[in-house]
Symmetry: C2
Subunit: 429 residues, 2 copies
């Protein structure tokens, strides 16, 4: 890690800059794939599967026998762990349900909002260096809870043509309605336009590589909704002298092992903690299976020493981390003052891994400073909040003249007239 001691405030911005992601070179490739899927459907999917995944299943749809075989191969212990995580995720997301509340904004004018499930959602579950079945839990469980009618999962098959066993088990457990052996930009194209076998969906969720991310953004321009612009994963740890170097190092590494482009940041008020954490990093890194990846990620990462937890917080509010771990004596109070972050982990026992898998919060979170303007995935992400209104005669009388004036001022006479014809009918004026 690069160590920076007491940076001046005017240098913060440069210090906190993430590496620019230049997707320009991908744009054309991805656009071509999407167009091809739109125009040729399954034939295009088969073409790209052969080209990129070196394996093109006869049938993209995962069948009953495949689910059964996969389930048989997952250990009972792991199944129980997944069930525990699912229960926590459901408990947390169920608390996000809301009931319509009718507001009488003025006498006779009734307005309300109702959450209606998005009918068809597509969930992309990556399987690259490691199959990420936890993504299924984080997306399919809330989708089911929200009441989505069609929950389609796409996940790329391994060289043997199979989707990861645990992914299939989790998909079935969480109520996915169909799973397709399909990855990459072509999977996003299929969800966006629909093909002979893959249904078009209303919203696409899930992380993925640069191709998948670019494809989601291009898909969004066609009108399909997407969850989040997903970039490389990030963690920032804010620690004072009460932090535990072994814990901090483990947390930093658990982000660093995701990929060489992972962003890892330590901001601390304690030089002793900083030094001890660097030592711990070396010790823990040495025994990690993915140490090459983690070491590369750490090279681009920063450990910043600051004067006070207040300064640390200000700096981190500017950074807007996807995950923010607060390991300070006054962690609760600090957490209250967080303005920009995807998810906040309070105190020494609240590691990011808890939220990644099982505590109940969603792990699909805004990266790359998007936390300034975006929320992570929640139950809200799987519903539309439709507004309704009903005016009585009295309501129309009360509000009508103001609307007539405003419409006239906007030079929209037909808008005014929609009120006037009604007022005439009720007033006979």
């Amino acid at each position: 890690m690069k160590v920076i001691r007491y940076p001046k405030k005017e240098d913060w911005s440069a210090l906190l800059t993430r590496p620019a992601l230049d997707a320009r070179s991908l744009e054309r490739d991805v656009a071509r794939i999407l167009e091809d899927v739109r125009d040729r459907g399954d034939a295009a999917l088969r073409h790209y599967a052969r080209l990129f995944d070196r394996v093109a299943p006869d049938d993209f749809l995962v069948g009953e026998a495949e689910f059964a075989a996969a389930e048989a191969r997952v250990s009972d212990e792991l199944k129980d762990a997944i069930r525990l995580a699912k229960a926590n995720i459901e408990r947390f997301h169920a608390a996000q349900r809301d009931q319509p509340e009718v507001v009488e904004t003025m006498p006779g004018v009734f307005c309300w909002r109702k959450s209606v499930p998005i009918e068809k959602v597509g969930l992309y579950v990556p399987a690259g260096t490691a199959p990420l079945f936890s993504t299924v839990l984080m997306l399919a469980a809330p989708a089911r809870l929200a009441g989505c009618r069609e929950i389609v999962v796409c996940s790329p098959p391994a060289a043997d043509g199979r989707v990861d066993d645990v992914t299939l088990f989790a998909a079935r457990l969480c109520g996915a309605t169909r799973v397709f052996k399909l990855g990459g930009a072509q999977a996003i194209g299929a969800l966006c336009f629909g093909t002979e076998t893959v249904p078009r969906v209303d919203k696409i969720f899930g992380p993925g590589n640069q191709y998948v991310t670019e494809a989601k953004q291009q898909a969004a321009k066609t009108g399909v909704a997407i969850d989040l612009p997903a970039g490389p994963s990030e963690v920032a740890v804010l620690a004072d002298e009460t932090g535990v170097p072994a814990f901090i190092a483990a947390d930093l590494l658990s982000q660093a092992e995701h990929g060489v482009d992972s962003q890892v940041l330590l901001v601390t008020t304690s030089e002793a903690i900083l030094d001890a954490t660097l030592t711990e990093l070396d010790r823990q890194l040495a025994v990690l299976p993915r140490r090459a990846i983690a070491a590369a990620a750490l090279e681009n990462s920063k450990a910043i020493l600051v004067e006070s937890t207040g300064a640390a917080l200000e700096l981190l509010n500017e950074y807007a981390a996807e995950h923010l771990i607060v390991a300070t004596a006054d962690a609760d109070e600090i957490a209250e003052r967080v303005v920009n972050a995807g998810s906040v982990f309070i105190g020494n026992y609240s590691c990011e891994a808890a939220g990644d898998y099982a505590s109940g919060t969603n792990h699909t979170l805004p990266t790359n400073a998007a936390a300034r303007g975006w929320s992570g995935v929640s139950l809200d992400s799987f519903v539309k909040k439709i507004t309704f209104q009903k005016l009585t005669r009295d309501g129309l009388r009360a509000i009508g003249p103001a609307i007539e004036l405003m419409a006239e001022a906007e030079q929209l006479r037909a808008h005014k007239n929609a009120i006037s014809v009604r007022l005439e009918a009720v007033e006979n004026r």
Copy 2:
């Protein structure tokens, strides 16, 4: 309007297709403008203002004297109407506030979600054929209510170099912190990247022409959030024999007058209502100031006769209109069964114009079938919902082993280790 009688279900999809919006030709132009604004800041803004708006103010920022002069020119009657609308909008949006609820997902594992205002928002207020000050009400009022710290409005100046008086009055009234005389894709670029005079914002809101829309979508790829993909405005009316042709015609026209690309749809179970509405359309159209625009929009519009309100509803759920007016005897019951729509207007007195201006619901809504996956703007649009979690020792003990298993199964050993080092510390195992 094109009249279609009892279409077969297999023809619905073709019938409901909106004209394709091909933004391809704009992409390069808009990309060049955005890059230029990013690289040259105010100089680029001045260049494009001269090029497109034929007017480049010395100072883009609206000053105190300009606000005062504008306010003096707005009639007291119109000010009162705007204050009434603002009060209703605030009442409806204030009811959308939520309080954090701490969920103990399992013993010792506490999770919650808190709404935190987005710090800096940019609101684009178009002023083309007509200045749309109602957009200020719909965006600035909720932004202020949510607690956004910086509320920046951009609106293109007229030929005299001034921003519309009512827009300035409304901006001040609703708590906008700064207003810039700035329009087009260059305004979006300024909000996205920041310039010497315009601050970079975290989220960009507001409707606009094709250039503005394309610019918002390109801006979104840089990480700034946007409200909605905005397309041409739409209304669909579902009427049975209890509909009032004069009301229906006025509602259809109040959408048609927006632009030649407006989408207008009547779906009815009654041939008598259909015929009478067509007659009313001719009568009302003849006296509209914007009749050329409205007539052109109507030419592309459809009146569809169906067998039952059930069929009408099914067809309209597939269409996913921005605005849906339900003018039937059983309007309440029909409204309950709406699955896809931006906003629903129930009964003969609830015209779209009410929601456009003053009833309290937001008029920034998903168009072009985006209502299948998107919600309209609400208080939620101006906050991030940050998740928090706190594990106690007991919580860590309860959840730790499941996380270890799952992390191991995902081959993410450092994730597992983040739990293991903590379990070791508390258990001394």
